[in-house]
Symmetry: C2
Subunit: 216 residues, 2 copies
């Protein structure tokens, strides 16, 4: 198919497709004339994956590049692939560091928490640092950071992870594994936001007018 059809079927504009081609996120098509190339289903599904990762997965292009490299090398187990995706899902601009003392204390507590749970987490996994940063921030906002605070999180995470890893399969190859992983995460995040608003409404009373854009 021509680039215009590829654009129509994928919902991605021609200039953006050309940008992805220049950035080598999308492999080149087959040249059919000096200035014309043919694209096929592999280009279409690659484009859809890129949009999934940058759109709903909110990944930077640098992170997308790493995930695509991991998919293309075709040499990683699903477990290793999951580590690459997890790293890519961490925002590029972390929160400003808390005070060194608060950070160290939180790092120790995160280490103890993970040891207690017994999940294997690599010492250099970016999730460790993310957890330290969010916990220090929560603490500075008056939320106590104790093992008990996170028990329901650990419980829920275990339930979902057991279920999702069972629903994972190698069907569709590495790119489908990655797409399902990102989609499961977003699905739960959305359901969770709905639940949060509902239960907050129950607790504090509900306002059912449309939320004002601003209040001036």
């Amino acid at each position: 198919m021509k680039i215009s059809k590829l654009s129509r079927l994928s919902g991605v504009s021609v200039p953006t497709i050309k940008f992805y081609l220049r950035e080598q996120l999308l492999p080149p098509g087959t040249l059919t004339a000096r200035n014309q190339a043919e694209y096929d289903e592999t280009h279409l599904s690659r484009l859809r994956l890129i949009r999934l990762l940058t759109g709903i997965g909110m990944m930077s292009l640098a992170s997308v590049r790493e995930v695509l490299a991991a998919i293309d090398c075709n040499c990683l187990s699903p477990h290793r692939l999951a580590q690459v995706v997890n790293r890519a899902l961490v925002p590029d601009h972390p929160m400003p560091a808390a005070s060194a003392a608060a950070y160290d204390a939180a790092a120790r507590r995160v280490g103890e928490l993970l040891d207690e749970i017994g999940w294997s987490v690599r010492p250099d996994a970016p999730e460790r640092e993310s957890l330290v940063r969010v916990l220090t921030a929560l603490e500075s906002l008056g939320v106590p950071v104790e093992t008990a605070t996170f028990e329901p999180y650990v419980d829920a995470a275990e339930r979902l992870a057991v279920r999702e890893t069972t629903m994972q399969s190698t069907a569709g190859g590495a790119s489908a594994v990655v797409a399902r992983m990102v989609l499961f995460e977003v699905t739960f995040a959305v359901i969770r936001r709905i639940a949060y608003t509902h239960f907050l409404g129950q607790r504090v009373g509900r306002d059912d007018e449309p939320p004002a854009k601003a209040c001036e």
Copy 2:
């Protein structure tokens, strides 16, 4: 304090602070000389909030602006504030629309699912559309989208929401409510990724070498 100290304490560079001032995300300081202004604790905590929202919350500046307006108007209940935050957390670039037929079918199913659960969700809540999009994408990847598929999600979301809305309080004002809401979400997302990798490793075998940056 001077802008240089504000920068040091917040971990945000002076050019970025100037950018936030120009964009009116940060209120101006008090002029003390023709070219010098004094900033105080309110500027520091506002800067920290902006970094939380753009960094770990991955919000666009436009979304940050809406959230700050909602905080500043001081007229929204926590329930309404949660709706504004939820809308801001939805990525600006949604996934390309699936086929109209697949979309409509998924929209119907999402409506039924939400009715069954009995949570109140506004008809124009952006979470509805997000859910439709992720479910259509999952379906196209071979994951069945049935009520039963999402029961564990609904269960887990309910547990967490009940707990978190109880842990919320008006302490620290609207900005602390927003910060805690974003941090709770990220905390769970991180714990969930750790669990996912752990249980996937149990299921498919673990590779404990560092994940290769790329495999060339």
